[in-house]
Subunit: 240 residues, 2 copies
Amino acid sequence: MAKVRLFIDHPLAAGQPVPLAAAQAHYLSGVMRMRQGDEIAVFNGHDGEWAARIVQAGKRGGELLALDQTAPQRNPPDLWLLFAPIKKARTDFIVEKAAEMGVSRILPVQTDFTNSERIRQDRLQAHAVEAAEQCGGTFVPTVDDLAPLARLLDGWDASRRILWADEAAAGPFDSMAGLPQGPWAVLIGPEGGFSQAERDRLRACPYVNSISLGPRILRADTAAVAALTLWQASLGDWKA
Amino acid sequence: MAKVRLFIDHPLAAGQPVPLAAAQAHYLSGVMRMRQGDEIAVFNGHDGEWAARIVQAGKRGGELLALDQTAPQRNPPDLWLLFAPIKKARTDFIVEKAAEMGVSRILPVQTDFTNSERIRQDRLQAHAVEAAEQCGGTFVPTVDDLAPLARLLDGWDASRRILWADEAAAGPFDSMAGLPQGPWAVLIGPEGGFSQAERDRLRACPYVNSISLGPRILRADTAAVAALTLWQASLGDWKA
């Protein structure tokens, strides 16, 4: 059975008591049927993974005792994902996949063809936490609130390059070879694609590189995993 | 609005009448509110994409008239996906993703750590059809029935290489560079990984190449898209 891993928003050190929120205490005692003295793994996003013993866990909360560090902190590369939120289930999936794939920050963007007026940032952040718990990570990417793509580009720091998965790019796959190291963001469009005005603006940005993801039209969640794979395999921590 | 595309199991040629099953006729008239004279796109998996006019569509069925070919037939590379079925929703996703990514045949396999005793092959095949309809493809991958991995390997044609996404592979990402062209299969393990016996057998196969997919543990559906991306970008039709 897979090890139980919990994200804890609390400092971790040997002998450190760690309070448990009611939902986490219920998960351990009610769902996983764990009891006092059982051990789990915890992480807080910056102190690595720790073994912790259940001191008490019930309906109203509980407490852990941190024992010792079992894995060092491992942060993902300086890679952001910009994507246009779509249907709820697909949006959840994109956040989950981004966390698994090793993205440091997730930025939902409004585009000309995006329907969403708002997102549930708290729910998406919780999905990122859950994905980190399940994929064995010690880092949780930040999920930003929804912002217009045009405004993000207005204030963009040109030292961060954008890898644009351009679903309308004709012709062959553009190789990742030769792209520079450094901070990057992957940009995935909405299901209906980008508007002509958006396309013109992206094409004119000197810090934007476009790639084609093959001859078939990929759904946004598939395109996100595919583009992040290409980046991680050639510029990211899959090579490390 | 996206073009309506339907897979039709019927020959397609100019002036060819095409009978509609009740479910498809209902989809066009009841769900999409289309009427006699409206045009849709159809494909049958081997004759490319055709424009077709609705002659009649109602509750009990209907008929189209094929007009002319709007896109040539495009088949994916000779690439199979072998994966161990997991929870229902994730299994559906893997089939959907495989169709989008351009796989020609999908083989669900039983492994030592697979729980599934059986799958709903018909339901998975329907998911592959739906994915082809949505991703603009003209090809539908075949979904095999569940078969034990060991038996598949017993009868394996060694001219088809296997790219094994080995979640326990230590060390750096192994580059795709230098792998030969030809028929391939991508193999994705179950969430619990492969057994030691399976690992030993795969390692001993001369036609198996393993790759690591980075330092985080990927869910099976994420791993499938990631491995297929690497294959398509270096050996498949993304370069064409």
